[in-house]
């Protein structure tokens, strides 16, 4: 008896008991679904962080007021706020003047939430921040229309703005926004460029923003204090020099702050490594625990399948007898029931996968882009089929061993 014949037989047997098959598979479906949802969210999160890192550029790092460790608890936060002074443009000049390894150094300022106006159209609560023209190169900003800032626009605090697509679509539904003006706190800014859309991450739209040249932002919004804190982005000329560049930034900042040997930094440096390190420390153990729970559901699912297969063998003793009388060998009967268990289980895996995909689409729309890699899908179905085969092994063996005379006598 060949494979397709056995498969056809298995499907028709499963189909004959639709409701029972479905109930049997519930554990399997939930197990695979939970596994895939968790996995896809983690994958999505990883992809997001990787993309962020790639967006910053793998050779770039951030010099900022606080370190990750400063956020350990309220005491460390309070201490850091006392010790770590806000950055100033003079700090930036100090770094630029002395850096020999670092290639590019640029400054950005934290955002404000403001209301935008164009004619009668308004947009509330939109992030407005400031950045130096060189940030366009450091962050690999993708320009959809127009261009990024020029040095002249920054040095002369010109009223120009670089905007996201949400702002462009809302305020300038017709025609190109480039050359048009946006009013913020009574001051008009001319749009010079629009960034390529990035969608939403964790439910946060990434394209609802207005960016101004750093100096324009500083002078029109009241200096780089509080939420408008300054921070610097720097790049190394190559991967090999990355560590040296980071060390240089650290040493220069320590000199600038006149820190004694052994004294803690009064600033923070965030590298892509630090970001992925943070991710790993956050998700390392959680990952294992979260994946262990669906594994238990899978085990329970396997036991249920074994049970239902035992029932099926008992119910179909007569059928087994008939098949044996017509020439079915032990192997044929064994294969028949194994295939049935494996197919049943694989259907459960596939259903779980499809449900996970649907939930993934919802999560993607609401929170974070989820990813189900093809190999995870293959593994999910493969593992469920193997679980099915293992669960079906004993019942199938029992069926194969039946004595044809006894089996024919059954009702």
């Amino acid at each position: 008896m060949d494979f397709t014949e056995t498969l056809k037989l298995a499907i028709s047997a499963i189909w004959a008991h639709k409701l029972r098959s479905f109930l049997t598979l519930l554990g399997m479906i939930i197990g695979v679904m939970a596994f895939m949802v968790v996995f896809s969210v983690l994958q999505g999160f990883n992809a997001y962080i990787d993309e962020k890192i790639a967006g910053i550029g793998s050779n770039s790092f951030t010099i900022q007021r606080f370190n990750f460790e400063d956020f350990k608890d309220t005491d460390t936060i309070a201490e850091a706020q006392r010790r770590n002074k806000e950055f100033t443009l003079e700090d930036l000049e100090y770094l630029r003047g002395r850096a020999v390894i670092m290639e590019k150094i640029g400054a950005k300022a934290g955002g404000n939430r403001r209301t935008l106006k164009v004619g009668n159209e308004t947009m509330e609560d939109i992030t407005v921040d400031g950045a130096e023209p060189i940030i366009g190169e450091i962050e690999n900003v993708d320009v959809a229309q127009g261009r990024y800032f020029s040095d002249a626009e920054n040095n002369n605090s010109m009223r120009v703005a670089f905007i996201g697509t949400d702002v462009a679509d809302k305020l300038f539904p017709q025609g190109s926004p480039v050359g048009q003006e946006i009013d913020i706190r009574g001051i008009p800014y001319r749009v010079i460029g629009v960034r390529v859309a990035k969608g939403t991450v964790f439910g946060q739209p990434q394209d609802a923003f207005v960016q101004l040249p750093l100096k324009t932002y500083g002078s029109n919004f009241g200096g780089f204090r509080g939420g408008r804190y300054l921070y610097f982005l720097a790049t190394a000329p190559s991967d090999a020099l990355f560590k040296d560049a980071v060390d240089e930034a650290r040493n220069l900042m320590r000199q600038r702050r006149k820190l004694e040997f052994g004294e803690k930094d009064t600033f923070g440096i965030v590298t892509p490594d630090a970001i992925s390190g943070l991710r790993d420390s956050l998700f390392g153990t959680t990952f294992i625990v979260i994946l262990a729970v669906p594994a238990i559901a899978l085990l329970v699912g396997a036991i249920v399948i074994m049970n239902i297969m035992l029932v099926a063998v008992t119910e179909r003793t007569k059928e087994i007898g008939i098949r044996k009388s017509l020439g079915a060998r032990q192997n044929d009967i064994l294969k028949q029931f194994l295939m049935e268990a494996a197919t049943l289980s694989a259907i459960g895996g596939l259903t779980g996968l499809i449900l996970a995909k649907i939930i993934g689409v919802i999560i993607s729309a609401l929170f974070i882009q989820t990813v189900i890699p093809w190999y995870a899908a293959v593994i999910a179905i493969g593992v469920s089929a193997v679980v099915g085969i293992l669960a079906g092994l004993f019942p199938a063996w029992k069926a194969a061993q039946l004595d044809p005379i006894e089996a024919l006598r059954a009702d």
Partner: protein
């Protein structure tokens, strides 16, 4: 019309042990014993049974219940092995075979017809008839053709896609007969083939058996009904596990 039943000589698998003693007759039983262990006691269902069946015979085996005729039928049908003795069928020594070898012999040499039909309830008539061919490893297209032809030969060509519960008792038994004959077995082995049928249908089925015999098929009917046994050309009577009479009536 009965074309599919021809070519019987082609059923003998090559390369198997063929001995002259067994080759002469289709079935040859030598000093067959079947003993069951009932606790400490031994129950002899068959004691020293020997007989031969030639190709083309129409044989009835009769006997009261408990006589051992069911045990004999199971042995002839290769569903069971004897405790002692030699059993040859179509040149194969069956009495020492393993379960899987017996399955192969059942598939090639035996066509069963049961009292209660023993059709798969969920499967169509066509699929039921295809079953022996599936286990013989035949490909789908050829299998379908053969099963269609077998059903047509028992005048069920228009019922191929019906399930057993959509067929009358007589039709079900004809599906079972088509299934028994589809793989060109050496023997058609029927166990009380009319036991579940009314008398009119029984007559039809018995007529079909006679027709099949006339076509050259070897038929063995196990029954306790004398009307059924009288149709045969030879009758073996079993009593207390032994052959009481073995007579040629036609």
């Amino acid at each position: 019309m009965y074309r599919f039943m021809e070519n019987e000589s082609g059923t003998q698998p090559a390369g198997e042990q063929v001995v002259a003693a067994g080759a002469k007759n289709l079935i040859s039983m030598h000093n067959i014993w079947k003993t069951y262990q009932m606790g400490v006691e031994e129950l002899h269902a068959l004691r020293d049974v020997s007989f031969e069946v030639a190709k083309g015979e129409y044989l009835a085996i009769i006997g009261p219940s408990g006589s051992g005729k069911s045990t004999l039928m199971n042995l002839i049908g290769c569903l069971d092995s004897p405790t002692k003795g030699e059993y040859w069928i179509n040149g194969h020594l069956v009495s020492t075979m393993t379960d899987d070898e017996l399955a192969r012999i059942r598939n090639k040499e035996i066509g069963f017809v049961f009292q209660t039909f023993n059709l798969l309830a969920r499967a169509t008539a066509l699929h039921n008839v295809e079953l022996p061919l599936i286990y013989a490893g035949m490909r789908a297209g050829e299998r379908n053709d053969k099963a269609q032809a077998a059903l047509a030969s028992v005048e069920l060509g228009d019922r191929v896609m019906h399930r057993p519960n959509e067929l009358s008792g007589g039709q079900r038994q004809r599906v079972a007969i088509a299934r028994a004959l589809v793989n060109h077995p050496s023997i058609l082995l029927a166990d009380e083939p009319t036991g579940a049928l009314d008398s009119k249908t029984s007559v039809e089925i018995m007529a079909l058996f006679e027709k099949l015999h006339a076509e050259g098929n070897t038929i063995i009917v196990v029954t306790h009904e004398h009307e059924v046994a009288e149709r045969a050309h030879r009758v073996i009577t079993i009593r207390d596990g032994q052959i009481e009479k073995d007579e040629r009536i036609k």
